[in-house]
């Protein structure tokens, strides 16, 4: 646990319009996961035992859920793999872990305490023969890997499993013509709705889909060749629409070289909102990114490849913008860079940032600090108090 001074002046913060809170940054190649405030100052770090490999999230219980690379991973050439999922407390102590050499990209802690994870499974040969698209003869040692979702209990028991190849449609889920057939879909993010249904993004088939938890069927699908370019994160807006980050790689026409954020209406499948930058090529991340809907109606976008995070209002105004100043060598992505695997914002009253076990005894009387402007009403003064104490405790 340490405080690091922010070394980069690259920050823009509109105090009135931005969602006040702390942003969790998972940087490629790093062993540290960082929490920065709205002014870009790092207020907390967690030291993970190994290099991080997937975006970390802060749980309501105050712990960090994050995945790291391990030597046991089986498919390191497929990009995005992680070998161990860890839950660590505020001080970095591992309180729960789960190992699986086929996990990749993304995780979700369910309200029931179980964890949903994404993993690779080999696709049965008879299905592979029917999967079209991709560059010919580019299976991985003859095999095509597809995605599977697995729900595990805290004890590590498999409670539910979804095998992509049982539910994907070979007529529709076609691999991008310029990608390898080593994988069918290359899922890279998913979120679980309160209903249990799962919204997932498939990079190689350029689509996003909703999986029905009960039946496993794909109830809804959007995207496809030339419509969506290698999506890399999805989030629910509400029951009616979803938002996707379209990276824009392997697209045609002038859509090559720029990313976009699209909101799609679930009933009509129309694009009802979209964001591209001006100039358009300024917003581009080929490989990594994340999206988050904030309680104040803004959207937090992480342009992973450039380490840039920005917060957009519905009116497409940028009200917070920040560039990750933490550089690390990351063999997976480059020699020394500030690529972000994900960035998520948590308000000061978020469960995970309120007073926590183990901290109470360290609380010391602190001088009164000037209250920060809060865009969100209804935050509990108690929560803010506890946070101030916690931060003061850390010498901040």
């Amino acid at each position: 646990m340490s405080i690091t001074q922010n070394v980069s002046p690259d920050i823009h913060y509109n105090e009135v319009k931005a969602y006040n809170g702390y942003t969790l940054l998972t940087a490629a190649g790093a062993k540290d996961v960082y929490l920065v405030d709205t002014k870009g100052q790092a207020v907390h770090t967690w030291k993970m035992p190994a290099e991080v490999g997937a975006p970390g999230v802060l749980l309501p219980n105050g712990n960090l859920l994050c995945a790291v690379r391990t030597p046991e991973e089986m498919l390191t050439d497929l990009e995005g793999g992680v070998g161990k999922l860890l839950e660590v407390d505020w001080d970095g102590k591992v309180v729960w872990q789960y190992e699986d050499p086929y996990m990749h990209h993304h995780f979700y802690r369910l309200p029931n305490g179980n964890t949903m994870l994404l993993r690779w499974v080999p696709t049965p040969k008879d299905v592979v023969l029917k999967v079209s698209g991709g560059l010919p003869n580019t299976e991985r040692e003859g095999a095509m890997w597809s995605d599977s979702l697995r729900e595990i209990s805290p004890a590590g028991e498999i409670v539910w499993e979804w095998l992509g190849y049982e539910h994907l449609n070979t007529e529709v889920d076609i691999v991008c013509p310029l990608c390898f057939r080593s994988e069918w879909t290359h899922a890279n993010s998913f979120v679980v709705a309160p209903s249990g249904d799962i919204l997932i993004s498939f990079m190689k088939t350029n689509s996003i889909a909703i999986i029905n938890k009960e039946t496993g069927n794909i109830d809804w699908r959007w995207g496809g060749f030339l419509r969506l370019g290698h999506p890399h994160d999805v989030c629910w807006l509400d029951d009616e629409s979803v938002t996707v980050l379209g990276c824009g790689g392997h697209m045609s026409g002038f859509e090559m070289g720029n990313s976009e954020v699209l909101r799609i209406d679930l009933k009509s499948s129309d694009i009802v909102w979209e964001y591209t930058e001006v100039p358009v090529l300024r917003f581009y991340t080929a490989l990594k990114g994340s999206l988050q809907r904030l309680p104040n109606g803004n959207t937090l976008v992480c342009e992973g490849d450039t380490g840039r995070v920005f917060e957009l209002t519905e009116g497409k105004e940028i009200v917070w913008e920040f560039v990750n100043p933490f550089y690390h060598p990351s063999p997976a992505y480059g020699k020394n860079n500030n690529i972000l695997l994900g960035a998520y914002r948590y308000g000061s009253d978020y469960g995970g940032l309120k007073g926590n076990v183990g901290i109470a005894e360290k609380v010391k009387p602190v001088p009164e600090k000037k209250a920060q402007t809060r865009a969100e009403k209804g935050a509990s003064p108690k929560g803010e108090e506890a946070l101030k104490e916690r931060l003061a405790n850390l010498g901040y």
Binding site: E79, G253, G257, N258, L287, G334
Partner: protein, 394 residues
């Protein structure tokens, strides 16, 4: 719009290692062309009657020669005018003197992308030509059903004399296209089969050209028109501006669009290939690779000291690297404009408020074309105050 603008102008200059000279800054979207010194002072300005569209070069005689462009005519029934993305198609070539007066002009409504003023005073340039039906039927690849009103376009060359006569011509239909070999990238429209974007006369009189959509550069023998060398497929992806170096190797900009790779990242490269061995003898890739990526346009120029000037076109960035990849000079074009044709052609999204540069060239201080010219930043004092080095000092 991103709030955190990067620093514009010359933002890195290592005088010990950078190659001295004047850089031609030719914004894709505006009518101005600038000549700039190493520190970022603008020392000359041309104002052209229309946007350069592609690029201009300073000739040894001191004139600026450039390719013009017009918005496409609204009448889509005119099948003599290709409508294939249309951003590369020009209307012809114009040569202006130091004071921007037009001294020569050649109009060809299917002239595309580039040109080269030859040793004999003629000018050679690519032009878009239709593929005859019998061959068109056999051409494979590309996005299905994306012919341009049923036409598949390819490229040819015209060499024209100063008084506008065609001295030599060449056609990809007669000399290059082999339907069994040249397959179009699966993400490109079939209407734009080859997409020639570069032409250069070689010291031996032969012609070096590049075709973006089939990832091929080739040397054409003159006058026979025979293709004596082709390279690129499987090695580079949608390249621009192959140009021959003193050592006989060819330097080119490997854009990397639609790369057949599985790492899923996109990145560009500067590449030098030896045409005798077909081996890549030098390349430049950034760290991380995806931080240097130009989907469109762009180019590389080699200097006598071994450094390479690389233009990352769509983002308006020009930088110079040593052979070892160390950056010793960098410039970000501060001149933003919306291309004149935007609004008439909605597909041209990248050129809405853009600082793109098709290519950048640097001329040595003793370049014949600059002899006797006044290169004093004082004469553009007002521009330098806003866009020059003083404006970007921290």
């Amino acid at each position: 719009m991103s709030i955190l603008w990067e620093k514009h102008g010359v933002r890195l200059y290592n005088p010990e290692k950078a190659c001295e000279g004047y850089t031609l800054v030719d914004p894709f979207t505006s009518r101005d062309v600038w000549l700039m010194d190493m520190k970022g002072n603008y020392v000359h300005r041309w104002v052209l009657p229309s946007s350069p569209r592609n690029h201009g070069v300073i000739l040894p005689n001191g004139h600026l020669l450039y390719a013009t462009a017009e918005p496409l005519p609204p009448d889509t029934s005119d099948l003599s005018v290709p409508r294939i993305g249309s951003w590369g198609i020009g209307m012809g070539l114009v040569e202006v003197d130091w004071e921007s007066n037009v001294v020569w002009k050649y109009v060809d409504k299917v002239q595309s992308h580039s040109f080269h003023r030859m040793k004999n005073g003629n000018t050679i340039f690519p032009r878009v030509i239709p593929v005859p039906d019998d061959m068109a039927r056999r051409l494979k690849g590309g996005i299905p059903k994306t012919e341009d009103r049923g036409i598949i376009w390819t490229d040819g060359l015209h060499e024209v004399t100063p008084d506008g006569k065609i001295a030599w011509e060449w056609s990809a239909v007669d000399h290059l296209l082999d339907p069994d070999y040249h397959t179009l990238c699966p993400l490109e429209p079939r209407g734009d089969f080859t997409h020639m974007n570069s032409v250069e006369e070689l010291p031996d009189g032969n012609i070096l050209v590049g075709f973006r959509n089939i990832d091929t550069i080739c040397i054409i023998e003159k006058p026979s028109g025979k293709v004596t060398w082709q390279w690129g497929r499987g090695e580079v992806s949608h390249q621009h501006y192959p140009n021959m170096l003193d050592n006989g190797n060819i330097l080119l900009f490997d854009n990397g669009v639609h790369r057949k790779n599985d790492s899923l990242i996109t990145y560009s490269r500067g590449v030098e290939v030896n045409p005798e061995t077909n081996k890549i003898e030098w390349e430049y890739v950034a760290d991380p690779p995806q931080s240097f990526y130009a989907a469109l346009i762009s180019g590389c120029q080699r200097f006598p000291n071994g450094n390479t000037l690389i233009c990352e076109g769509p983002r308006g960035r020009v930088f110079e690297v040593t052979k070892d990849g160390e950056k010793v000079w960098e410039y970000l074009n501060p001149f933003y404009a919306t291309h004149l044709s935007v609004g008439k052609q909605p597909s041209i999204l990248p050129w809405r408020h853009s600082n793109a540069l098709f290519r950048a060239y640097r001329y040595p201080p003793d370049f014949p074309g600059l002899k006797g010219k006044e290169l004093n930043p004082e004469k553009l004092e007002w521009v330098n105050r806003i866009y020059g080095p003083a404006a970007y000092k921290n």
